[in-house]
């Protein structure tokens, strides 16, 4: 198990290195002088030189890469050109909205999907199964930002249960803060929950047709017992994969949903940075999100090994 975790850790490190190189080179390929690009046509020589200095554009490619990565490792993401504040501070502020939102949504999605998927699988072919599957078919097809807009129309504008957007702030208390994240989290969670419920159902049905379920039934287990004791944990393996993948969709989705609800999270930050041509900010946020995705996939790999003893030895 330890060797397995170590191997995954090595490959996690490698992925991070390669991802950072890709992101770094991407920004480096900006045609011409990045400083001139960021400042536009009317920049003076002095401001250009100052920005070049700030961007660490002096030195070779390798030196620039190392200083960028080294800075990030120390928590120094550089200074935003437009806001003149350290990027790390800006990210830290926004993170307190984006991260809770993604976790809130993932929790909702799992809480909805597991019971729905298990219920549909255990009642295969029944009206319950057909209607759950029909609903998930709709849930998968609905664009989440449109769903968010409709919820704003119904629950904020017409019913006035929620505010149409903005964030109450954590200093206002947990309840108001969570309340302002609720519609965004539902909008994010529902399509993901639909996908997850479908995966849960089909994985469970596959497992239920395995030979070892028949063995369990021959031992005297009821259908229910066989499902809960033997099928469910085996069926979880593909479901974990999807949960891992969904985290990256949730992060990306959060960027868009923040736009619908005017939430000052990482998503808003990125779009502001793009329109202000603030490449340092874009680069840092993308790197951070990629980092999160890679770490979550690592956690999923470890979770696999916890579920499946065959993986522990194979490594």
């Amino acid at each position: 198990m330890l060797r397995f975790a170590f191997k995954r850790l090595v490959s996690l490190g490698l992925s991070l290195v390669v991802a950072s190189v890709v992101i770094f080179l991407f920004v480096e390929v900006v045609p011409g002088d990045p400083a001139a690009y960021m400042l536009g046509l009317n920049a003076t020589e002095e401001t250009l030189a100052a920005l070049r200095e700030q961007l660490g554009l002096s030195g070779t490619l390798a030196e620039r890469y190392l200083s960028w990565v080294g800075g990030m490792l120390r928590g120094d993401f550089g200074t935003s050109y437009t806001y003149r504040t350290p990027v790390s501070e800006m990210i830290a502020d926004r993170m307190w909205i984006s991260l809770p939102l993604a976790i809130y949504a993932l929790t909702l999605s799992t809480l909805i999907a597991f019971p729905a998927g298990i219920w549909a699988a255990s009642k295969r072919g029944s009206a319950a199964d057909v209607s759950v599957m029909g609903l998930t078919q709709l849930g998968v097809a609905i664009p989440n930002f449109w769903f968010a807009m409709l919820m704003v129309l119904v629950f904020a504008i017409n019913l006035r249960w929620f505010s149409a957007g903005g964030f109450a702030g954590w200093e206002a208390g947990v309840y108001p803060a969570m309340k302002s994240l609720t519609l965004p989290a539902i909008a994010l969670a529902l399509p993901q929950a639909s996908i997850l419920a479908r995966v849960m159902r089909s994985s469970l049905l596959d497992t239920l047709s395995e030979d070892f379920i028949r063995t369990a039934r021959a031992k005297g287990l009821t259908k229910r017992q066989a499902l809960w004791r033997h099928a469910l944990r085996n069926a979880l393996i593909p479901v974990l994969t999807i949960i891992g993948l969904q985290f990256s969709f949730l992060l990306a989705g959060a960027i868009i949903i923040e736009n619908v609800f005017f939430l000052p999270g990482l998503g808003r930050l990125v779009f502001q940075a793009i329109s202000a041509r603030d490449l340092i900010v874009v680069e840092s946020v993308v790197m951070l999100l990629v980092f999160a995705v890679i770490v979550v996939n690592f956690a999923v790999d470890i979770a696999y090994a916890a579920v499946d003893p065959r993986l522990r030895v194979r490594g």
């Binding site: 490959s11 992925s15 900006v30 709709l138 097809a141 609905i142 990306a252 793009i274 490449l279």
Partner: protein
């Protein structure tokens, strides 16, 4: 099974028929829009702005008085074109990579392809689009590239996984005994047996592509004006949602129904291609 048997089974599958009809409606709308639309989508008609659905404008007008039905028809072109090209990129690059990785399983080539895949998976298409836009500016082409890049590992993994199990079949062994090489076997024996899978996945990626294009255009990273697009119609409608909800509802429904149609078609095709399910679930 004969061809008529296949067609018969296809027609009996409710989800396949419904999905195909929905998909056909939107493809047809896109095609017809090249020849005829009810109103010119560039013509502004301020006096008639934000009109609800009525005779001359069955789906109403937007904040510039443009006909929403016409815009949805023209927008279908953008959505379909972006998604088709993106799926095409994914298939054309991903399938050969998957075939090659499977043919040389465990080799350095396989390792490089798979690790490369993992890496691309760490970049959701939205992040790729953000990076491209930050550097090169926003355009429909960006959307295509971003979604296309994300599709490559999807097809590469699917193809590799399916091909690996086919490589253990005795008919592949028989082909090797007949002196055929890995490339020839990949194209003669492996590829024909993964096409069903690729068609099913292709439909699903197509629908995901339409969703992704809409999302990118909605946040301004995709199609730019004057190119009409469903995502941007929704972005435009957002501030007007309390006064003119029809501006948000109809383009959203267009996305929903197209994606639903493609997904239903994908599910139907999968059931049809999988003889195991067909026999049981008749």
């Amino acid at each position: 099974m004969t061809e008529t048997g296949f067609l018969g089974a296809a027609l009996r599958s409710r989800s396949l028929v419904l999905g195909a009809v929905l998909t056909a409606v939107f493809v047809l709308a896109a095609v017809v829009s090249f020849l005829w639309v009810p109103h010119d989508v560039t013509a502004m008609d301020i006096p008639n702005r934000m009109k609800g659905p009525e005779g001359a404008h069955p789906l109403g007008t937007d904040h510039f008085g443009r006909d929403i039905l016409s815009m949805i028809m023209v927008g279908a072109r953008t959505s379909i074109a972006v998604a088709v090209v993106a799926v095409g990129i994914g298939m054309v690059l991903g399938v050969p990579l998957g075939l090659a990785a499977a043919a040389r399983k465990g080799s350095l080539l396989d390792e490089v392809i798979m690790r490369g895949n993992d890496l691309v998976f760490a970049f959701p298409s939205l992040l790729i689009a953000i990076m491209i836009t930050a550097v090169f500016g926003a355009s429909a082409l960006n959307a295509i590239i971003a979604i296309g890049i994300f599709n490559i590992p999807v097809f590469a993994r699917l193809t590799r996984g399916a091909a690996l199990s086919l490589w253990t079949r005795d008919y592949v062994m028989a082909a090797r005994v007949a002196g055929k090489g890995a490339t020839r076997i990949s194209f003669e024996h492996i590829l024909p047996n993964v096409t069903n899978l690729l068609i099913v996945q292709g439909t699903i990626q197509f629908s995901l592509g339409i969703l992704a294009e809409a999302a990118l255009s909605y946040v301004g990273l995709g199609a730019q004006p004057p190119l009409p697009s469903w995502g941007r119609m929704l972005a435009d409608s957002q501030t007007m949602i309390s006064i003119a909800p029809h501006m948000a509802i109809f383009p959203g429904l267009a996305i929903l129904l197209t994606v639903l149609g493609l997904n239903l078609m994908g599910d139907g095709l999968r059931d049809l291609f999988d003889p195991k399910i067909r026999r049981v679930g008749r």
